[in-house]
């Protein structure tokens, strides 16, 4: 195998694939990236056995076809540190011989591992196919992933539950995540071809890798899935992942229906006040108390060691018409949600101890449920 390529081109592709490689690996081959130089160009593959990323690299001059595997992190670091305009030549004579990387006066020799050891992820049939514009896909992820649980015992919560359903008479593609304390539910119009898809739980790492790749993409992203696997195609990059084999809870049953006490508050003022007030508490799970009265909101927090803090918001930024109410939430949970809200936050309370609904007044397609804390 021998090819030459611009440093910038290879760096970008390596950045995509090396990101799935786990930093600590007990299986040596999983630390490597598979390089395949073929007639059409170069193909890179990296996997952690759960996720595989394959990228077709354009603008590569292949002078001798062949395949090998090299340490992904090392290769990436070398390429990253080479001068921006460098032209690289990679040469592997075959077998156990080292991989030579030359750029100007720089010369490196990397140990390789046999191609045959590199695990291939079999996709099987992916019968459900649809296309999703990059923008809506990013929204689905951004508005739900903060609520993904890290709890190992309830592994079926360690991802985003994606499924087709109906909402208000319209067919929607819905993403849901919950860790038990908060729940995020976001919808986009159902893309053509997705109506028969099974509900799937996409693992957190896949979600994060996909979000990184989606950052650079403007066009549509092709999605194909089965009960057990999902594949996203983003231009030259293909991300394939196993799905979490579990049953997502019947989340609709925990979304309260009768919450009728509505508080509307300007997002910027509210989020900043929460941040300031919560600063007083040293504990990780900072409770902030909301004391709501007619067009008036008092935010307060107290810590036995550090003291207490409060801030008032009134008629200019707050609207509330129901009976007075006191309720506490973890500051971080409030901020995670308000981060996703543009201008006005809408709370719907039942009472001080029941689940509360939070929405963006301008975007009813996203809904959050938050458990109060005792204050």
């Amino acid at each position: 195998m021998k090819f030459s390529v611009d440093r910038a081109v290879l760096l970008k592709a390596l950045a995509h694939v090396q990101s799935v490689v786990e930093r600590r690996n007990t299986i040596p081959i999983l630390a490597n990236v598979l390089l395949e130089a073929r007639e059409g160009g170069l193909k890179l593959t990296a996997t952690d056995m759960e996720i595989a990323v394959v990228e077709e690299v354009p603008g590569v001059t292949v002078t001798r076809q062949g395949r090998t595997t090299a340490p992904a992190a090392t290769l990436y670091e070398i390429v990253r540190k080479l001068p921006e305009t460098a032209k690289l030549e990679l040469d592997h004579p075959g077998g156990d011989a080292q991989l030579t990387l030359r750029a100007g006066r720089f010369d490196a020799k990397l140990a390789v591992l046999p191609v045959d050891d590199f695990p291939s992820m079999t996709e099987g049939k992916l019968p459900h196919k649809f296309a999703l514009p990059a923008g809506p896909l990013r929204e689905l992820i951004d508005r739900t992933r903060f609520a993904i649980s890290t709890e190992e015992t309830r592994y079926y919560l360690n991802g985003i539950y994606l499924h087709a359903t109906e909402a208000g008479g319209a067919k929607v593609l819905r993403a849901v995540a919950t860790d038990g304390h908060r729940l995020a539910r976001v919808e986009e119009p159902l893309p053509e071809g997705a109506s028969g898809m099974p509900g799937v739980i996409i693992p957190r790492k896949t979600v994060n890798e996909l979000r990184k790749l989606a950052e650079e993409v403007q066009d549509e992203i092709a999605v194909a899935l089965s009960d057990t696997k999902i594949r996203f195609t983003l231009g030259p990059v293909q991300l394939t992942s196993k799905l979490i084999d579990g049953t997502f809870p019947e989340y609709e049953r925990v979304i309260p229906r009768g919450n009728d006490k509505v508080l509307k508050v300007a997002k910027k003022d509210f989020a900043e006040a929460v941040g300031r007030v919560a600063g007083i508490s040293s504990e990780r799970s900072r409770p902030v108390k909301l004391s709501v009265d007619r067009n008036h909101l008092l935010l307060s927090a107290a810590s036995p060691e550090l003291g207490q803090a409060q801030e008032e918001l009134d008629g200019d930024t707050v609207s509330y018409e129901s009976s007075p109410l006191e309720i506490g939430f973890q500051a971080r949970y409030l901020n995670d949600i308000t981060d996703q809200i543009v201008e006005q936050v809408e709370f719907r309370f039942a009472d001080g101890s029941a689940p509360t609904i939070v929405t963006d007044s301008a975007k009813p397609e996203a809904l959050y449920v938050l458990m109060p804390m005792r204050v």
Binding site: T153, T178, D179, G180, L183, P249, Y251, V254, R374
Partner: protein
């Protein structure tokens, strides 16, 4: 160096071999003897000593207190200990080591009465008495010198004699500046001992094996040794950041303890650290199915104990003892504190499935660890639509049991299996 005769309270500025006042050789001397105020008191071979007190004919014989064919040694007297008998050793092993031992069934009522007596004597010395077990307590005698017209060391020596006189058993005393060092001191001089650990403690600890430190059990000690830490001095030398990097968030505290530092106060309200329940089977059990029945009953028991103490389980520990007396334990953290039998059972079930792969077990136990405050238990859970209903169910069961007795509601899965084909 200040010195004290433990038999007549004669105090001197210089150490002596035989007491100038009474001739006794039971002296204790230490530069800080009259300045230290935290004590650890441990009754020597407690159950066995009580039995020997009541049966003077056994005085010179090896005595083991313990129960049953499948029981373990609850206490062994010092004669038995010289033959290799240890606490918690299976009875058959103990008898193999010491065939002529006199085995006495434990009489807990008697021991509790003696323990109460000893505790009452302690509480006459200071309000700051923290019982650590039936036969152990920590005492803080700071500020009591004016009341007793004597420094803590003298008060403790008198106390030891009083216990011997009135309760008929002996105690070992450790005196230091904190609880950790006091405990280590008490272990240094046993039985009927009095040891002091002062500012030399850090140096004294440095060349001791890591396993000496309370809290470092055999398994952890092995881990430490594998990481190259064999002596406490090596742990003591770690700066907090390095300690945290190597041993996680408890690392800095571990290093501090290895230096002999301990900020725990002697607090009379004993804090419960863990709550557990266990049972030994009449015949060994193997299969998950067989083991789940006693496990379920233990979950109910644990739940009841948590409720009594207004606590909840933040995690569960499964304990199993094999027929070969190997103890295995597995821990799982709970995402949310609970005290519902069902939730405890569901958390411990997968742990059991991993362990019960064919070995024969003689004992099963379940513990709540860490503990969480009771009002944090079983809060509504957005990821579990049935949580609220389950909590309500157990509330109803508890109400029925409170009114009609514990047997009013019995869960089927805890009962022995009956029916065709099974005995």
């Amino acid at each position: 160096m200040p010195a004290l005769c433990r038999d007549c309270d004669h105090a001197a500025a210089a150490a002596f071999a035989a007491c100038p006042a009474c001739g006794s050789r039971r002296a204790v001397a230490h530069p800080e003897l009259f300045a230290l105020a935290v004590a650890h008191v441990d009754c020597d071979a407690f159950y066995a000593s009580v039995e020997k007190r009541d049966r003077p004919d056994l005085l010179t014989k090896p005595v083991i207190v313990g129960g049953g064919r499948r029981g373990v040694v609850a206490a062994a007297c010092y004669v038995a200990r010289t033959r290799g008998v240890k606490s918690a050793m299976p009875m058959f092993k103990a008898l193999a080591a010491c065939p002529d031992a006199v085995v006495i069934k434990p009489d807990m009522q008697k021991y509790v009465a003696v323990a109460r007596h000893v505790r009452a004597l302690m509480e006459a010395l200071t309000p700051l008495v923290q019982p650590l077990s039936i036969d152990e307590a920590a005492l803080d005698l700071s500020g009591t010198a004016a009341l007793h017209k004597a420094p803590p060391a003298v008060v403790l020596a008198r106390f030891a004699r009083q216990v011997e006189r009135e309760a008929g058993i002996t105690v070992s005393i450790g005196l230091a500046r904190n609880r950790l060092l006091a405990k280590l001191a008490a272990e240094r001089d046993k039985p009927r001992g009095f040891a002091v650990l002062g500012s030399e403690a850090a140096e004294w600890l440095a060349d001791k094996p890591v396993g000496l430190l309370p809290g470092i059990g055999p398994a952890f000690a092995k881990k430490l040794q594998a990481a190259g830490f064999t002596r406490l001095g090596q742990l003591a030398a770690l700066d907090p950041r390095e300690a945290a990097r190597r041993f996680g968030e408890d690392g800095p505290a571990l290093a501090a303890r290895a230096r002999g530092e301990d900020s725990r106060r002697v607090s009379p309200d004993r804090e419960t650290k863990s709550i557990s329940a266990e049972t030994t089977f009449d015949t060994d059990l193997r299969s998950v199915e067989e083991l789940e029945r006693p496990l379920w009953r233990l979950c109910e028991k644990l739940s009841r104990r948590l409720k009594e103490k207004e606590l909840a389980a933040g995690g569960v520990v499964l304990k199993l003892k094999t027929a070969g007396f190997e103890t295995r334990s597995r821990h799982a953290r709970l995402a949310r504190p609970t005290r519902l039998p069902e939730t405890l059972f569901r958390a411990v079930q997968p742990l059991l499935a991993k362990e019960a792969t064919g070995s024969a077990f003689r004992l099963i136990g379940i513990g709540a660890q860490p503990l969480a405050p009771g009002d944090a238990a079983d809060l509504p859970d957005l990821a579990d639509p049935d949580a609220a209903r389950r909590a309500a169910k157990w509330q109803a069961v508890d109400a029925l049991r409170a009114r009609f007795g514990a047997e009013a509601v019995v869960s089927g899965r805890g009962l022995p299996r009956k029916g065709p084909g099974s005995a």
